[in-house]
Symmetry: C2
Subunit: 408 residues, 2 copies
């Protein structure tokens, strides 16, 4: 048992190092990891010995030089612990929090994901939709994005996006306005989420969702990094909705990933006179993207029948017996009607405060509990999903015309 | 020969009577005409004898009562001649001007079409596109319709529509603004085209295109007549473009006909916040309609390669040897560079004035000649299609923001 834990710890540390020394999706490392475990790779790089059974070659030699150059300041156990104290945890394949739908990426799965936020990433992404689009959004795109995101969040869906200016940030804001979970997949390290001016938005996402990155803390975004990040947005979610995208928008890259991964690809049409919608029309016309105009179209495209949708909006999306013992004891401590704050729940459940916060996020994403004025309470099966929370004006500062509609 | 002409004359007169006594698409008459010629049917109704080999039945009896009730004031030879003097001609299956693409309607082909206008209907509709949509058009729909119609007309395509308020009339106006041919398929008799307030527009269409109706002169539109008319719009054209349509718009009926006839069905997307575009999005999402955003999308959907399009915009769409001798002599009389008026062309060609006007329309629709300031001239193969004519403000009175773009 100790050996198993030790092996697991070494694997995690090796994956932390891999995120540091290699860019996400590095094809040479993907090839090496097909034959060799992360711990063996890192050990070989550190000692200068041969890379397991990997065939030698000039490409591999150059890659090895690249990796070794960064090995000097790679994170140690102490570094990773310090990051964890700052709320940035490493989630690895095999962890309970690892989103199983990433298996669609095959060998090109991330070696690990850095996560910061209150929700359990796997739970949050079980029912998630990506909403992506151009940074140069129009008032129309902003409006439609916020409406769709709020409507999806109000029905228990997690909204995944890239945290960028324009459509992305509006998707997160719309979900937050409906007190839903939202996940931002960022191209930068999570200690300094990019773009910096979205600091307040990112803090809100940490409180009600999660920031995710393949890049370790302190890493700044690179151009190729944006594109590799996009595949993760598509892979994390059940389907991708493109709201506004010019013909050469990076958001089309995310749409292409969704198509290549055989995930439902949707696009919101717009005026043909608006270049910001040209990419959406291209996706509909040439890529087989589904033309969606409201939340019902999106849910239909995700193959949820009206019955499923009603069930989703009324009760938990997961059975209780999928919960771990700690989450179960936290759930037992959440009252049925009047809300209770996390501190009191922690006392009742006999669990420490940080764990309670994490469990509450997981339970909310799973549809078991909901926020109310005094804290948290059980979500009753016959309740419509509540749409409340802070005044929308606080969350949606740059949009005067967003309507936050209640679940029907 | 005399017998043949006599038989042909009796067939035409019988068809004129059929358009008078039966509504277009009358299922009982369609069934009767499967076994019996129009002349025999009219003779039987007049004399009260049995309807050829048609099986008797209560449905047929009631239909016969309907037809006979209208027989009293059915048009005679003198009536039809008077209508012809007013410019309203009857075009019948088998006539040179009969649009052969109507064969797609099978037994349900019109028994005859009343036509008023300068172009040859068959020639004009060889390369034609229907543009249809809601009467309650928005400024966006008006703008897009006029642009598409002008761009199609500028490339030698005839724009077919229904002459109604909103999208329909704007489609005609856009084509006229580009000096293209346009065909309005009306639900009323052509002596009083409906809607009346489009009098000036209809006169412009008569001068540069054609008004078409299955209804004889003096007939006012009926509600079922609108729907039956829509199948004709779809059948006359190579493909149908829906610009704006609410979910229950009559224009969706035309779109359904285009789909059922296996003609390319296209729709122009719009803001999802606009109910006027909801029908277009439905057509794209659920009916397999192609999302089109500009003239290139439309031509691509009609399976014209860029090479074809360039040829179309440069030269005739029909070979000279498809022209009848009279049209050929008129074509010979049209000068190459400086324009010549119809009266002088009539003298040169040795053809009467009315025939010249009709031939000129046919030759223009066929791409052989073009209007210029002084009348008509040969369209040169390397000329771009000219976009000129009356000031747009005259033709597009209710749209301040229409751009008439030249063919590229």
């Amino acid at each position: 048992m100790i050996d198993g834990q030790d092996r697991q710890h070494r694997d995690r540390m090796a994956r932390a190092v891999l995120t540091w020394i290699a860019e996400p999706g590095d094809a040479q490392l993907v090839a090496v990891l097909r034959r060799t475990s992360p711990a063996t790779v890192v050990a070989a790089l550190t000692t200068g010995s041969a890379l397991g059974t990997a065939p030698a070659g000039r490409g591999l030699d150059r890659a090895r030089q690249r990796w070794t150059a960064r090995l000097g300041d790679a994170p140690t156990g102490a570094t990773v612990e310090a990051w964890e104290r700052d709320g940035i945890r490493l989630v690895c394949p095999g962890d309970p929090e690892w989103p199983s739908q990433l298996e669609v990426l095959g060998d090109a799965q991330p070696w690990g994901l850095w996560v910061r936020g209150q929700v359990d990433l796997r739970f949050a992404c079980l029912h998630s939709v990506s909403i992506v689009g151009t940074r140069a959004a129009t008032a129309y795109g902003i409006h439609v994005t916020a409406e769709l995101a709020a409507a999806l969040a109000g029905r228990g869906w997690t909204v995944v996006s890239g945290g960028a200016f324009g459509i992305d940030s509006q998707a997160h804001r719309g979900a937050l306005a409906a007190e839903g979970a939202t996940v931002a997949v960022l191209p930068s390290g999570l200690d300094a989420p990019y773009p910096r001016s979205h600091h307040n938005l990112f803090e809100a996402i940490v409180a009600h969702g999660a920031l995710v990155s393949e890049q370790p803390p302190s890493r700044t975004p690179t151009r190729p990094g944006f594109l590799v990040r996009n595949r993760l947005i598509a892979a994390l979610s059940r389907g991708t909705v493109l709201v506004e995208a010019a013909l050469r928008s990076g958001a089309l890259n995310t749409a292409r990933h969704a198509r290549d991964l055989n995930r439902p690809l949707m696009a919101v049409p717009g005026p043909v006179t608006s270049m910001a919608s040209a990419g959406c029309h291209q996706v509909i016309r040439d890529w087989g993207g589904v033309c969606v105009t409201d939340v019902h179209d999106i849910l239909a495209c995700l193959s949820f029948s009206p019955g499923d949708m009603a069930a989703l909006s009324r009760g938990p999306v997961l059975p209780r017996d999928e919960l771990d013992p700690v989450s179960l004891s936290v759930l037992e401590a959440v009252p049925a009607r009047v809300g209770r704050g996390p501190a009191r729940i922690a006392v009742s459940a006999g669990v420490d405060f940080d764990t309670v916060l994490r469990c509450l996020g997981k339970l909310a994403a799973g549809g078991f509990i909901e926020r109310c004025e005094r804290g948290w309470r059980i979500r009753r099966p016959d309740d419509p999903v509540r749409v409340s929370g802070p005044p929308i004006s606080q969350i949606l500062p740059d949009s005067g015309h967003v309507r936050c509609y209640p679940a029907q």
